[in-house]
Amino acid sequence: MTKSTSRWVGASLARKQDLRLVTGHGRYTDDISVPGMLHAAMLRSPHAHARIKSVDVSRARALPGVHAVLTGEDAKRYWGPLAPTIDIGMKVPTVYALATDKVYYMGEPVVAIAADTRYLAEDALEFIDVEYEVLPAVTDTEAALAPGAPLLYPEWGDNVQCAWGMSVGAVDETFARADHVFEFRLPQHRYSGASLEGRAALAHYDAYNRKLTLHCSTQAPNLVRTLVAQTFRFPEHDVQVIAPDIGGGYGNKLQADAEVIPCLLSLATGRPVKWTESRQENLLSGMQCRDYVWYLKVAVSKDGILQGLDAQVLGNVGCDGTCHAAGAGKFLVAAGYVPGPYKWHAFRVATKVAVSNKAPSGAYRGYGKDIANYPLEVAMSRMADALGLSPAEFRRRNFVGKDEFPYQQISGPVYDSGDYAQCLAKLLELVDYDEVKQRQAATQGKSAKYLGIGIASMLEPSGGAVPSCIFNSYEVATVRLMPEGGVLVLTGHQDIGQGSETTLCQVVADELGLTPDDVRVVYGDTNAVPYGLGPWSSRGATFNVSCIAEAARRLKANLFEVVANLWQCEAAGLVAADGAIVEPGGRRMTLRELGNKLHLWPGAFGVVPKHVANPFEVTHYWTSPIASWTPDELGRIRLYTTHPSGSSAIIVEVDAETGKIEVKDVAIVDDCGVIINPTIVEGQLHGGYVQGIGGALMEEFHYDERGQLWNTDLTSYLHPLATDVPDIKCDHVISPSPYTTLGTKGMGEGSTIMPCAAMVNAVEDALKPFGVRVDQLPLTPERVIRLLKTSSIWREMYEVGA
């Protein structure tokens, strides 16, 4: 096969969808209206844990303009419990999308209404009477795991949704013999992606066609179709899911949870029903994430070489991390990847995932890779400090070396490629690390503003292939030659803003010698595309790009056979370039001519040789050459195919009087292998990083111990604004993956993985004169002052009256 020329892969092409999006002609789910459409509203539980004693909907049902009012009990006529999304040795509760006997979190839907307008539907909520018997609630992770805690599912006997652990090497011995043993407790709070477009769904059950059509804002239309069909026990081939433009996902839109409620209302009324989540509903229940505590023990030799890691993570998935969404799995990923980009001799990890009376837990940018990264990267900087090494030098001494790939990590994964030390070296240069440290030394103590710099390195395992889970292990796509020579790519991969509508055209254009304008990506309709799985786990550039590049190559090979047959020459000598199939130095046939010949003049029978199966289109299935679900001799499995990596730095100025942190500078060096579109890659780095900064500084769900969520609007749940963050510098290292077709790796999560650790390291560096150790995020000014107050030096300097 001839090698493809890289003309478009690597080009910063402007995105195809932008024209419609900048002119207001995008089409998001709520933009769609159909004749006869009703509007949904949901009555949600005001309590975190309560028994439902009675529900009286008679007054609501009597209202003019109200077409259906359904309780959880009513709904059982139409559906079963929510279908599980993941079950790898987990306890899967029997829960419904509308509460039946009990509510498990504040905001859980209890009654669903369909009415002529959204205004009427919301009015009608006021006419429903529910009697609750409030039960004791538990929200804190460790409290939920403690003996005697209130139980969400009494039949479980505890609040543990899953537990797992592994041990490799002589752990106890390593710790007994170590020169240094460091211990850390590092928690992280609960926050989420909170995309600007919340969830939205327009369901239409057509009884005369026995077909359910669901337009919804999802990252994974095929997965939603499966889950909806399973929840309703409805034939899946009679369900069509259409995902139009998506207003952000970040992992939060990977389930069929409340989306089944408009389906229910449509089944009950026979009319199309639209539900558009309000911001309050989104914050109450639109999938939350993070929320865990790590206990880490690290053994280090006196020359700064890591020896052993003994780690335990306690995760909090709220009321459930299996059916509402696949949140529980991220803590298993976290356990597998806590060794990070470093080498170890001994490793032990245990994970325990608790349910509690908070909203359900789903995926969010990182899916456990972030959870793995945070404690170790904070620990690395603190240990470097204790050992008298620079944080970069300590990391360098322990990185997997660039010549050691493929590298068998102690916890199971095989790292494909990388140059972690070079990423870090480039970062120090990009951010002018030494200059910052000099400036810090020169300015420290001269004012209340303390300068600090923190770094964090990361791994972004990409393309997870998780057994017994919707996050499965293959990708399938079709590349089709049209009669006029253009190409359609049909894929289950959803563009949710990451630009695959454009980047996939770049890939196919190179393979077939076309321009991206000759290619259109069709996605977002389960009845048009093969059963591909969607963008999650940064899998696009690992699974989907490989799948589509190979499909295009196979199509090209078939077309070469046809042309060779027509010209009576060798297919092996042909190339595809400039919109044509070319015999070097000789004949040329444009794809348009060829498409015409195949389809029409004279048609396939006249031009296709017998041994060519299908020159019109190729549907190709791609799976990982390296993932393995068969445990090795140590019981380890390999779920991820590529391992993008990177390092980043944050420079802060912390005001010791007010506790306010100003982010002065951010720099990222990323290695996602071969880059398809540099501008899009940098956009992902910027956006992901700022989301992480939000998590580090301001985003937090405030649950009290009764399970009341106090901040359900954007004035109390804060996001970074343009004034909160600086410009961001980016640079790249390119280590192609040997396991993907084009050497690409995933990207999109890595930049969100690093900021929390980098921020903590920066703040601790800035406040080193006070010996501050961050014990909680986000670092609001109040928290920073609380930390400073523990320092006698600070109290002497700043406390009024001290």
Binding site: V22, G24, R27, G247, Q691, L721
Partner: protein, 172 residues
């Protein structure tokens, strides 16, 4: 249910230069009026409580949040939405061009609001510094881009709009 809320009131307003008269409930939000009554779905709703800026439109040339205004308050006013900005798919406004050129959008949900805030910002300050751009857009949340390329886009648009003859008359 509030009976008064149900009684329709006539409202006449000009949207993107076309005059519309509709009978609406007094409680109907301008954002819902534009989206559902007029089918102008380019105005997005991200919070419905005035914080995210996705619904930003121009009313009388000033940037306002359509979710914080009732449709009846637009009586006699001139409203400009994102749909009115370009004369056609091949006639983009420099701000729209710049958002594309600079990759100032990802999911695009914040984009119409961002662009309308930018129109108001550049009308008031045709040569903003980066800091002024950030301050001018601090009422618009973007969850995707980290703002870096949005600032870049506004900078490009400002430069272009200063060097070409005033392409549109956003009044101050």
């Amino acid at each position: 249910m509030n009976e008064a809320a149900m009684k329709a009131i006539r409202v006449t307003t000009s949207v993107n230069g076309t005059s519309y008269t509709r009978a609406v409930e007094p409680r109907l939000l301008l954002s819902d009026f534009l989206r559902n009554e007029l089918g102008l779905t380019g105005t997005h709703v991200g919070c419905e409580h005035g914080k995210c800026g996705a619904c930003t439109v121009l009313v009388g040339g000033r940037a306002v949040r359509a979710c914080l205004m009732f449709a009846v308050q637009a009586e006699g006013k001139s409203v400009e939405t994102i749909e009115g900005l370009a004369a056609g798919a091949d006639a983009l406004h420099p701000i729209q061009r710049a958002f594309i050129d600079c990759h100032g959008l990802q999911c695009g949900f914040c984009t119409p609001g961002m662009i309308n805030s930018t129109r108001a910002l550049l009308a008031a300050n045709p040569a903003p510094t980066d800091q002024e751009i950030r301050a001018g857009l601090a009422g618009n949340i973007c969850r995707c881009t980290g703002y870096v390329n949005i600032v870049k886009a506004v900078r490009q648009a400002a430069n272009e709009m200063r060097t070409t003859a005033a392409p549109e008359g956003v009044s101050k």
